[in-house]
Symmetry: C2
Subunit: 474 residues, 2 copies
């Protein structure tokens, strides 16, 4: 696929790319290999677009050379991590070059004297965690997909995870970045220091910019002491309301900041348990909460867990299961992590949403989603990071309806969902990003003046608009 | 003062300003009143410049009207909070209009259901704290000057304070901003939600932009539960080395995150104690550490304090004083907060520096500063937020030397200090900002490509360059 604004990837361009990165690190003309780079984890198959070429650089200098070439020839470049994104951010919507960071996957340094790790963007998040574990340290901003996602992708999307209530998300921990600009210049932003007000916060701006402002080639991550104690609760309720109403009670009434406050509605929880052949008595649960406290002090962890348990017990739960060890708590998290995979498998078509509202509005948005289920006669399971106000609603196509009917219905349903979210002071993505998936909906939550400002910032970094075009805004 | 790029403030402009903000809220032609707006807390008197007019808007719509007028007429506008800044950020270096936010000083809302406060920029930081205290909440990013500084200034400089080791600085807590652009448009950025990846992080970019990208008219601040317990240690050492070497031992070896790790060298500590008529045995102290743990759990606070005490005791301190109550700990903090005022009063000329290094390099930079003291034969007391790697070195003019000699010496000394800081992976400001004071030194720590990018971002917001010109970069 090519586009009037951009030039195609020709044989002569491919020769240049091969001379930069080596023959083995350029894919061209092989449709089945290229197809693997046409998608991320967004389930909408009609959004997939293969790149014209895939280039796998091994070092920042190679990224620079590729960007200089692409900028000169006006070829679109789409950076790619693990392809585990949920907004179409790594889909090369205008074809061109897919810049896959898979070979730049080294942990360069764990600097225990300054409490930072220095990594390449292609490092799988869990690999860093495995390295840090014996040192008693961790990167606290990691997302739920840590077994597959890469740190470069975490940075691109400002990924958040199951512990953001207490620890915040990726941006909080990124103290330095090496970035190749669209014109091929290598910038060293920030460093190993924890405070810095020298000029505008370019490190923070790069984090969450979805690969549209520069290509990250090195990441410096602030590390925290790994919590020594952990206590997890899995609490089953007979319905959504008593479960979700615990959220503001814990966050606001409890006056403590636990690590995790995860919500799972009936379909999410039951289907995940069913697919895992879970032996817990999940069949009668109308909703479940996964609550966790962690820290370096046993008494603090116990006190927080007791507070959460007492809030839950006041709501008449069906069952309360507790876990004090990593092993037991892993069982609870396995259920929670299974949900998106199970839901995707329930239907040929679905949409993984990522709305966020002020935390006190969590019960209101869940009620709204239940209303949309009835209005559109589709199932919309809901789960996610309720303690942050961040919920994954997951509309599923009715197996009896046609594909055409689904594609007619889903933009209307999303428009209603997003409009309701905005009315509660929320927005359309808390951690997945806008990408190509939500681009058309941005004006629902952002005024023309602000979108125009985003465009002017993009222009400041990328005058030719070659880096990851077709993302965030039109 | 006026400048070729800009137009002067004429009588007809003043009439327009008065019709926007009311006669009483515009100062013009009154040199002594204008002089009060010529400076911030930077001691360098030669940097002071009065504005041609001061305008005190009462609402965002008035700020918009002033900006539209200034943008049309090419009149420079310098926003101003309390004037407590330490980088010359509020100095109207090209004259023009000082936009003083002093009348926009209302706490609009404390939303306990969503754990945020909504304030105008002119609210004094401590006033918010007084309001939050009975609610058991607090804004954790506040700086040391909380009795005088305003929240708008905190946002402009991404201010940090004595608890940043644990709580981070201002940016972490700002979830939403209303901003008037240089062309007079009102943008509502972010909101009461705690997660948001909808487009580039404009809230984060505005924080720390030193009033050069827009005028903040409303701030939404995330609140945390106020810690119920606190334990403070004031530890006196006979010299700098044993004191400063506790810092990496606590931060790295201790595997805990205490609230405060403050360092004071001999001159800083002794002179502050002397000026306060402190009865503690300060005369023999060669250095002091103020260490504090806080939290919602008594056992955790006690355990952290015990760890810090044990690290200190292993270094053979002269004295260890502990405090468990707000009242006692206030006595320790009073000494720490007194330091910059005392040092400024010690000499007719001084320079308040704000370098930051990776936390493991704290002993190395202190040693470097001691070398500079000898090399330049000036006293350079050092104190500050050692646990963040952020130190305030404070070169003092020798009373026997001339003013001319000082102005010849200080840029050379700062160049050496900044170069040494950069060589250790640090930078020239951790929390005070670049402003007009450090602008000329920016190329010591930032490449031309990155400075050019800052300029292009500035251009994206402020094509005519009228908002706070002469700050950060040339």
């Amino acid at each position: 696929m090519s586009h009037a604004r951009f030039a195609p990837v020709t044989d002569s361009i491919v020769r240049e790319l091969r001379s930069i990165c080596g023959d083995a690190n350029v894919i061209f003309g092989d449709a089945s290999r290229l197809a693997r780079y046409s998608r991320d984890q967004v389930p909408e198959k009609h959004s997939h677009v293969p790149p014209e070429a895939v280039v796998m650089p091994g070092a920042a200098a190679e990224v620079q050379a590729v960007m200089r070439l692409a900028n000169r020839e006006l070829i679109p470049v789409t950076p790619r991590g693990a392809g585990s994104g949920l907004s179409g951010g790594a889909i090369p919507v205008f074809g061109g070059i897919c810049l896959s960071m898979e070979r730049m996957n080294r942990i360069l340094e764990v600097d225990t004297a300054n409490l930072v790790a220095v990594v390449e963007p292609g490092v799988v998040t869990n690999k860093l965690d495995e390295t840090l574990k014996p040192l008693g340290l961790f990167f606290a901003g990691y997302p739920m997909s840590e077994e597959i996602c890469t740190l470069g992708g975490n940075v691109a999307h400002n990924a958040g995870g199951g512990r953001a209530v207490k620890y915040g998300v990726t941006r909080r921990y990124i103290t330095g970045l090496d970035v190749v600009t669209p014109s091929g210049e290598l910038l060293t932003l920030g460093g190993k220091r924890f405070k810095d007000v020298t000029g505008y916060d370019l490190v923070g701006l790069m984090v969450g910019s979805e690969g549209t402002l520069g290509v990250v080639t090195r990441i410096i991550i602030r590390l925290l002491p790994r919590p020594r104690y952990r206590r997890s609760l899995l609490v089953l309720f007979d319905g959504v309301r008593p479960a979700i109403e615990t959220v503001p009670e814990i966050v606001i009434g409890g006056r403590m900041v636990p690590a995790s406050i995860e919500f799972m509605d009936r379909i999410s929880f039951q289907e995940a348990c069913r697919s895992l052949k879970e032996s817990l008595p999940w069949e009668r649960a109308g909703a479940a909460m996964l609550l966790e406290s962690d820290g370096s002090h046993e008494a603090q962890v116990a006190e927080e867990a007791a507070m959460m348990e007492s809030v839950c017990r006041a709501r008449g739960p069906l069952d309360v299961f507790t876990a004090d060890s990593e092993v037991d708590s892993a069982r609870f998290w396995k259920i929670r992590k299974q949900i998106p995979w199970t839901l995707k498998a329930l239907s040929t078509h679905s949409s993984i949403e990522d709305i966020v509202v002020p935390v006190g509005e969590i019960p209101a948005i869940v009620e709204k989603i239940q209303g949309l289920e009835k209005e559109y006669a589709v199932r919309v399971p809901v789960f996610g990071h309720a303690g942050d106000g961040n919920l994954h609603a997951h509309p599923l196509k009715d197996p009896l309806s046609t594909e055409a009917a689904w594609y007619e219905l889903i933009p209307r349903l999303l428009t209603d969902l997003y409009t309701a979210t905005a009315a509660l002071g929320g927005t359309i993505s808390g951690e997945h990003g806008i990408g190509s998936k939500r681009r058309q909906f941005l004006p629902l939550v952002m005024g023309a003046g602000q979108i125009d400002l985003l465009r002017r910032i993009k222009q400041a970094f990328d005058p030719n608009g070659i880096l990851n075009p077709g993302k965030i805004f039109d």
